[in-house]
Symmetry: C2
Subunit: 418 residues, 2 copies
């Protein structure tokens, strides 16, 4: 809280003093990228205060940066009493360009919302065997593509590919006809582990630096045709080209996988920790946690249909709908000896809640296009060219944060307007 006294933070800011998320930014288009933390309407340039000697870092290429305590970030008095340092190091957020905050070595996507797994199972296999028996025994996941992960705000191209033919007809080829978003969050790995040395589930939290919002763009027709028997491939790793016709204008996202520019640390989320769902059957010992935590983070997706002024909320979910915790995911990922490296990204999978209004993707919301969503005049079964998708996350402020007067407080944002 060292900075509270001299940097004014409006009570409805997404970045109160309790949430100082890390990101990478350029203050000017020609500047080299540098790390920063968001404070109110400013970005504190860590490279500048590092040069001044009051910040012992950053070490973004190794894992050290991930262990920096926020209270080490700056010495309040030094920054407050040095107008020229303040001028240089506090950059108005409206002026900066945010970049992908991490170099992602490997990206893994889990499948940890039971409601999402059940809905997909009912749609594709029927209600009897909606959820495979392995799902309740381990956090199912697949390896994803890291090269196509981009930062929020990137425009994308509608991917081309083969679509699922009906019956015995040959596959068609062309732009995807079933472009979807997936509402996810993702854990950013801090300290890694060596090959062959699994991480204990009760220590897994120490290996997570923080969380980002994630949109796992999905081409449902490409995915449906390609994924048997080895899982999703090109339905999840697509690209853009400003010269092609099928350009989506999206604030959040696009191509392959999009993440938010600010990483919120697990420390900052601690006040919003809550119990995770009871797991039945009991997990095997390597997945059994002494303390099993979820986080109460309200998640919302809005679509701004092409050509319309206003966006519409299409789903309202919550991070706490996850059945498998992020620490169980991380421990499971390493149980075979697999090594994680700093900056690796572990997606939660689509976070759907139990009610239809809380489903985390259009596949579920429109039941694979069988019904349409009404968006203030427009209707949608899947995304159309020019649509924007806006994901936001926020946590209720508990009494711990008395100065915030129990108002709802946004802790993540991606061009989220209020």
């Amino acid at each position: 809280m060292a900075l509270k006294s001299f940097i004014e933070v409006s009570p409805d800011s997404h970045f109160p003093i309790q949430n100082l998320p890390f990101g990478i930014f350029k203050p000017e288009p020609a500047s080299p990228p540098r790390p920063g933390v968001a404070i109110g309407d400013y970005v504190l340039d860590l490279s500048t205060i590092s040069v001044s000697g009051i910040f012992d870092g950053p070490f973004l290429s190794g894992s050290d940066c991930f262990l920096q305590l926020l209270c080490d970030v700056a010495d309040e008095a030094t920054l407050r009493d040095n107008p020229s340092l303040r001028e240089k190091s506090l950059v108005p957020m409206s002026k900066v360009e945010m970049l992908l905050p991490i170099a992602i070595g490997d990206y893994t996507d889990f499948f940890s919302s039971m409601h999402h797994a059940r809905n997909c199972g009912i749609m594709f296999r029927g209600p009897e065997n909606a959820i495979n028996p392995n799902w309740f025994q381990l956090p199912i996941a697949y390896h994803g593509r890291s090269s196509s992960i981009v930062v929020s705000g990137t425009k994308i191209i509608r991917p081309r590919g083969q679509g699922h033919p009906s019956g015995n007809s040959p596959p068609y080829f062309g732009p995807s006809r079933k472009l979807d978003f997936e509402l996810e969050m993702a854990a950013v790995v801090g300290p890694g582990n060596e090959l062959g040395k699994p991480v204990d589930v009760n220590e897994a939290g120490d290996h997570i630096f923080g969380l980002v919002l994630m949109n796992d763009w999905s081409a449902r027709d490409i995915q449906a045709w390609e994924y048997v028997p080895l899982g999703p491939f090109l339905g999840k790793s697509f690209g853009k080209d400003g010269n092609l016709f099928h350009v989506l204008n999206a604030l959040w996202l696009i191509w392959g996988t999009t993440i938010s520019p600010w990483i919120v640390t697990l420390d900052a989320l601690e006040p919003f920790a809550c119990n995770s769902p009871k797991q039945d059957p009991q997990p095997l010992p390597y997945l059994a946690e002494k303390i099993s935590k979820n986080y109460d983070i309200s998640l919302e997706v809005q679509i701004k249909p092409a050509g319309q002024e206003d966006s519409c909320v299409v789903t309202s979910s919550n991070f706490n709908h996850l059945y498998w915790t992020v620490t169980q995911q991380l421990a499971h990922h390493t149980i075979n000896g697999c090594n994680l490296r700093p900056g690796d990204l572990l997606g939660t999978g689509t976070i759907s809640g139990p009610e239809p209004e809380s489903y985390g993707c259009l596949l579920e919301l429109t039941w694979n296009g069988q019904k349409s969503l009404s968006l203030k005049g427009a209707t949608r079964r899947f995304l159309e060219d020019g649509d924007e998708v806006i994901i936001s996350g926020c946590s209720k402020v508990f009494s711990l944060f008395t100065f915030l007067k129990h108002f709802p407080k946004h802790i993540f944002t991606s061009s989220h307007k209020e």
Copy 2:
């Protein structure tokens, strides 16, 4: 052929002058890693001759190195007539340590041998629907884990994980009981492509630097239980620890995925190019090649059972059994706009031939452990602790290479003894 006149290369060397593969090595344990090419029993240190000004490179972090022509590597006379430069730049291969030759951003594994796909299909789904209809329309693939790819010679740990229970019994947990190898090769991406700009199938060869041998270690019991519906995960990305009990001593590899230290360029393979199999149904236009090439590369796997002196050949296959070519694989990978980066690795999938003696993994050779292999006294259904797995590849020399007198010539090696 510039170096032929003064560096003696034995006629049975794996590295004749026509095959100058690239690798990364350390001449001494404390030396920094550097690039080199193999010539006979020597490694030519490209960093040393680069300093001398007769090699215009290397640029290993970008894609430029991948376009270096071998004839640019050195000026013969300069090297021949400078004993001190020769002394410094030609290092006996027996003394060097080979490292992973590339920084692998993303790793993809294809599934392009029809015989392998059919055998797996018969085993797990029965003979009626052994091969899914999508298999003949596109090169099926899945994203893999890059962090756990290691260089030939690395020892591994038997991975732990959940095994497939029978009937309704709960899953078991422990060291994998069905550890397998997979005989594969992999293409190393040279120049990448931008997000949203697919590579034309007829230009895909320009994006491939060369090929390596690959062992895609697989834990069949972990894989069988976890892979529905999102594909292989922990069955393919495991690790090692010298302190654990279950250590495999393997020349070739281990954990997750192992590749050979030398990358053989597509140029060097050109004399061994052959027609690829006729494809029926005809591929869609984006996969239709004007010239569709395979390469005639004999592939062999030997197992040296723990405690035995001798290794036994367990399978003899050939790269030309691939149904989908590496250029079709690369073009398909980018058709959705996915970006490839220099150093990305595209595995072919297990390369099985039509005859039982040419199956590319123990799963097929022992029909999922139903029969055992006899290895000069030892028997094996799957790999046991202490086993070594040795993969080698070689190409017959055609008349083009008259000085080699039509002897068979090994073009790849991994500690292969004759």
